[in-house]
Amino acid sequence: MVELVPSLLRQELDRLAAEGQRIDGRGQFEGREVHLEVDCLYNAEGSAKVVWGDTIIYAGVKFEIRTPWPDRPTQGSLMCGAELRPVAHRKYEPGPPSPESIELGRVVDRGIRESGCIDMDELCIVPGEKVWGVMIDIHVLSDGGNIFDAAGLAAIAALRTAVVPAERFDVGEDHTLKVNGTPIMASFKRAGGRFVYDPSEEEELGGDERIHITLGDEGHLHSLQKGLKGVFTPDEFAEILAVAEQKCSELREMVAEKEGN
């Protein structure tokens, strides 16, 4: 369903931007409160729940044993998918995965995969015969804006706390999945002509293009995505990249804290 964009909303976003303000009173690069919970679902080998403002997302990790590709006999696989099911918002309709669902899953997937935090060789059980396939599923329950960052956070937190269910598959002892890094996403949206961090539902409705940046522990870029209509300047990108670095390290610390518990 295409949502109706009220003219007054766009007008107000313009006016607020000119005064350096946001509808909900946040600063331009101020995020909402984030709550992270890990290991919260029975049956998932790793799980996380993220409550990010009015957005609620679960991620669950499952394992399967599969035959490796012939040209990569020692490498397992990683897949991350997302479903924007109609539970999450009035605007989502039933049916096959929408382009938006697929984009969300793939952007999160790239950030995790390209960070190299999962060593595919570590997923080998018997070379040429058996490897682990790791699947992260992102389940959006409530879309209150900025589902990308919440999905990315839920996915990596679920992955980092996952236990490989080797006993159930009769291939050894259960062990924690080795994850060498915590890639984190930071998203920006053009609202009222300038970029804001962590867009609210209203800013998403009345704004223009969005940019998603995934950074690894060393501050390297692992995935970038520009979505929706609009163009931006190199200077604008430099500014939000600097913000992303700070936001990502804060969230990375939050993940580390939860793992410690």
Binding site: L4, P6, S7, L8, R10, I23, G25
Partner: protein, 228 residues
């Protein structure tokens, strides 16, 4: 505060709950009579007045009635009419003959485009929820500035108060122009700082309106503003 929300004997009922014997009383909204008993059909506060037993719902969808003042957004434009989203289950139709301007066939878009907001009245609703709007009437107009925020329709009485007393206080305290539509949409207009205050107050209403704390929030704001 709306009646029924005061007093210690305030009772929350859930759908299917037996309220009591029906003898000598009549079933009001949110209740049905079955086997000489009243049964609640809505989640809400039990209310008994003049031998009518009803439930004041905590949440309810907007169900348009003729005469309602509504704030709508244009969802679709044809050559001779507009379709409005009025927060109800169905879109409402505004024929060009009921617009406040002299509209030529085919020039509807020059007056109101998609996404534009207007203050209108519901002229007519039929039994299958088809609705006709009118913009002929005092104060009915296109809303060219300000912002539209939503509140649950059951809190409209709370924000207005008796004879709009609460609304006047809110207007004064926030220094904003405010129009409350019967469809759960509230138009606010003022400078950015004042609108932010108004939005926060409405946010408080949305979160706590079913409790008795809203008037306190308005009072706190009045006191704070009074100091300046």
């Amino acid at each position: 505060m709306s009646e029924g929300q005061v007093g210690a004997e305030q009772r929350l009922v859930t759908p299917g709950m037996v309220i009591g014997p029906s003898s000598g009383k009549r079933a009001g909204t949110g209740t049905i009579a079955e086997n000489n008993e009243f049964i609640a059909t809505r989640l809400g506060w039990l209310n008994e007045q003049n031998d009518v037993v009803s439930v004041l719902p905590i949440n309810s969808a907007y169900m348009p009635r003729s005469g309602d003042l509504v704030i709508g957004f244009v969802a679709e434009v044809r050559n001779n009419l507009w379709f409005f989203d009025v927060n109800g289950p169905f879109q409402a139709l505004l024929p060009m003959s009921l617009a406040p301007w002299k509209v030529e066939f085919g020039s509807t878009r020059q007056h109101l485009g998609i996404g534009d907001a207007a203050l209108a009245r519901i002229q007519e609703v039929d039994e299958t929820h088809n609705m006709v709007l009118t913009m002929k009437g005092v104060g009915l107009r296109r809303l060219n500035e300000g912002a539209v925020v939503s509140i649950p329709v059951n809190l409209i009485d709370t924000i207005r108060g008796q004879n709009n007393a609460m609304l006047s206080r809110i207007r004064d305290a926030t220094n904003c122009r405010i129009i409350v539509g019967d469809n759960g949409r509230v138009w606010i207009h003022g400078d950015a700082a004042d609108m932010h205050v108004a939005r926060q107050l409405i946010q408080t209403l949305n979160e706590e309106g079913h409790k008795n704390t809203f008037e306190g929030a308005v009072e706190a704001l009045e006191n704070k503003r009074g100091e300046h």
